[in-house]
Assembly symmetry: C2
Homo-oligomer: 169 residues x 2
Amino acid sequence: MHGYNALSFRDLAKEVGVKSSSVHYHFPTKADLASALASRYTAEAVAYMDDLIRTCQDHDALIAGYTAAFRRALADQNRMCLCGIMAAEFHELPEAVRAEVNRFTAANTRWLEQILANRHPTVARDALHARALAIFAAIEGAQLVARSRGDVATFDQILSAYAALGLFS
Amino acid sequence: MHGYNALSFRDLAKEVGVKSSSVHYHFPTKADLASALASRYTAEAVAYMDDLIRTCQDHDALIAGYTAAFRRALADQNRMCLCGIMAAEFHELPEAVRAEVNRFTAANTRWLEQILANRHPTVARDALHARALAIFAAIEGAQLVARSRGDVATFDQILSAYAALGLFS
DNA sequence: ACCTGAACACCGTTCAAGT
DNA sequence: ACCTGAACACCGTTCAAGT
């Protein structure tokens, strides 16, 4: 998964076996193309998270399933979260793409907040939201740092440190 | 501070009031230019961290000074750590630039490990290194997420959550 | 409705040519 | 030693032209 800058009409056209001007017929601007990609990426993430809710027995399993998705990206050709990449490109992003990046963050924090709420029914919603945001940010950061080292073990090491502090509990 | 992709020979030349081919005289390739920038960026960070060691009275002040640098980037036109951006661009980075990104990470974790060692003289070096890496990753992630929201308050909120868990202690 | 070719202003890069 | 102009193959984008 590449970011906004690495995305190319001509490369994409070549892969599909068509001219770049044809791609512009379906996605007039790069903003259209990139936000469509980011939107689909978020939809897939939401589907995955909903699946976890259905199949996981307890909180620990949910967290394990959630973090596994980020780990998988690294293990699979040292990739990282599309919206993490795009967040780093924020200054170069058209408004429509920025909105999609924020939708991904919102979907993730909403899900985390929900599973935290199930575990801590008495804790205030504000506090759970702050914790959800902290979990998301910490995992994105771990992925970012692990990726630049090209080493999944770094990701595991950082997440172990988070877990030991009780970030996920 | 922009990343590798946003860096342009022609833009830089225009700022200096010279032709882009003149910039190539000093920095033959974009890899040369970007790694020189990243190298200077790391040197400034190291100087800043050394300054903190000299001026800060205790561990909390050191952490406060360290996190303040990341916060300042956000407050100043929603910027973020150059090497954080470049880590997200890792796939597109020439080897020389990748090496500079890793040098930045190494300088930061070494510094964090050192101040943690001063505070916890009996704890094993491995454990301190893991903690240093976790702190660095968590802060980079907080900056990434806060930036996409264009809101420094998000950074503060996330760092408060980290502090409450004892990440920095 | 969908695709193409050609053009435009951008980009990094090279290089012969200027001082 | 340093700068320039012109060229190359790239890029997103537009648009008249094809089917």
